[in-house]
Amino acid sequence: MNLQELWFVLIAVLFIGFFFLEGFDFGVGMATRLITKSRAERDQLVRTIGPFWDGNEVWLLTAGGAIFAAFPHWYATLFSGYYIPLVIVLLALIIRGVSFEFRNKMITEKGRNVWDWGLFIGSLLPPFLLGVLFTSMVKGMPIDANMNMYAGFLDYISLYSIVGGVAVTLLCLLHGLNFISLRTLGDVRERATALSKKLYLLLYAGLAAFALLTFLYTDFFKVRPVVIVAILALIVIASIIAHYSVSRKKEAVSFALSGLTLCLVVVLLFSGLFPRVMVSSLDPAYNMTIYASSSSQYTLGLMTKVAVIILPFVLAYQIWSYYVFRQRVTRTIDAAE
């Protein structure tokens, strides 16, 4: 494996880390409006991710930074081409971020509600838009010979990308619900389990649609049919076992498997994409490959050393932070409720 291939994989790993971790943050944020009946319950849900959301978000920043350092052309084309969607994602992430801190510091009920809605919308929009982004990216976007993408609304929004966006959002919601089942005590835990069970049925439909549309709109099945079919099969199997575990209240298993499903979706997209980084809908000659988009061997080599040294520490202390806060979160009785 050469350095470009290695970094393609590493970036996929960073996105896997992002979706596995921030995925349940998004899910919990969405759940605050779906399975709670009181402020205390919303607080309870937020407290499950309170210590973690910021560190989880950094996986996205690291993925972005890694794309910049390893594949500057990919970074330039991707970020400038998806300008408006990324502006909205950024606004959503900003609002979500401050909502965690501001929501309980508001004096009026109205003020608290504003930031609660901010938390919800800021947790709903990013997974949806990122799903749209990745799906439309593998389908193909108008990229010219100079590696510049000139995209309009109908390039971002198609049946395939909408289904992709919904699928990612749904997966994040399920992952968040499974997280809640694993980490809370009380009524919300029951409701999370119940909703998760129901949503899996919707997920099966969504996955089927997504698989079909991937077949129709991308060349994934032509390029490496065995791998793609295998990953899709694993996704379905993981979902079925997760669904079963939810109904059997095996919460750790269902959480791990909903996380695995998110990881597998990322693996699916990157596997089909390889060795390209961007697909051009104008002309396959304008496809951007990892070889043509990358930095120098020097930079790739040095970044590899840096990543190999630092990443294990990051994983170690992030895992440790989850371990020390592993106790289930209960609802507090708030006199001001």
């Binding site: 309170g50 210590p51 973690f52 959301w53 910021d54 560190g55 978000e57 950094v58 920043l61 690291t62 972005g64 930074g65 890694a66 910049f68 350092a69 390893a70 500057p72 052309h73 970074y75 330039a76 084309t77 991707l78 970020f79 400038s80 300008y83 990324l86 502006v87 950024l90 992430l93 900003i94 971020g97 401050v98 965690f100 801190e101 590696m147 510049n148 930095s295 120098s296 020097y298 930079t299 040095l302 970044m303 840096v306 990543a307 630092i310 990443l311 990051v314 202390y317 992030q318 932070s321 020390v324 806060f325």
Partner: protein, 376 residues
Amino acid sequence: MDILVLSRLQFALTTVFHFFFVPLSVGLAIAVAIMQTLYYVKKQEIYKDMARFWGKIFVLSFVVGVVTGIIQEFQFGMNWSEYSRFVGDIFGVPLAIEALLAFFIESTFIGLWIFGWNKFRKGVHLSFIWLVAIGSTLSAFWILAANSFMQQPGGYVIENGRAILNNFSYLFTNPYLWLQFPHMWFGALLTAGCLIAGLSALKLLQNKDTAFFKKSFNFSLVLILVGGILVSGVGHTQTQRLLNIQPMKFAAMEALYENSEDPASLAIIAGIDEANQKRSWDLSLRYLLSLLSFNSTSGAVDGMHTVNQQFEQEYGPGDYYPPVTTMFWSFRIMTAGAAALLLLGAIGAFLSRKKLLEKNRWYLYAMGLPSRFLSF
């Protein structure tokens, strides 16, 4: 509207906003870490109270700093894609390291610190806030490494129309970085110190929790004096360095269109006519520019016209004049402001020493000067 103007405006505004909160966060992180260390060592409750109280303000500023910063990493690719293509080989490296090293540390351990007051042994919990402080500092270091490359590029070659890195160590040994980074860091201490001092002074005026805020105030004075003196010292060296590495910037800061005399005078204030590229009037002090630039009573400085000619020879015909009025006045505001803060800090130290703080309400007013247009 022009895409260039809009993109520059957006980058300027988002960066300025981000940089409202960053020095405060970096400075407060250090301040709170020291407070909590004092608690750990001296075992007095008041230090724990200080760490918690100022820590609350720190956390608020931190989260706004974080969210205003997310945009920055994306903005290079979004609005400056050609730049990203050209320097990505070099510029992407410090950004990636910033995320891998600094962001992960500060954002993971701040969660542990906020939620872990009663969960961990005191020493362990203390290490969390230090890690956050170190993480923020490292974050500043690596982004300044990226900016320093822009200001004083090195360690690269041009290949196929792109800049290619061939010397990683230049990125973190860049001489510009080693003035810019300490300058910013001490500025952060000064910023945090002023916030603590001002808020404490206001409470002392109201005679509330005086023991707590007197201690906080004295603490902040250290930050102000150390930060203020060192930021000025480093800044002075930085400006001297500019004469050699960025002569146009230096001349613009001084609104020196024509070459200066020898010995060179420094314009304290001046009327600047940018349209005609000259000064309308100035109030100058003889010898001062030579003294500051060359540590000597003689020496002339090239004006912008001369430098522009040099640039035209080196880089081709063009207008290399930066926005002189803004730069001239910004420099004066920055230096005069720092001097004023240092003076206030010194007076405060004197008064506090002599236990005269409460008796000199005029001073407390100055530190926490009420501004009536913000009332709630």
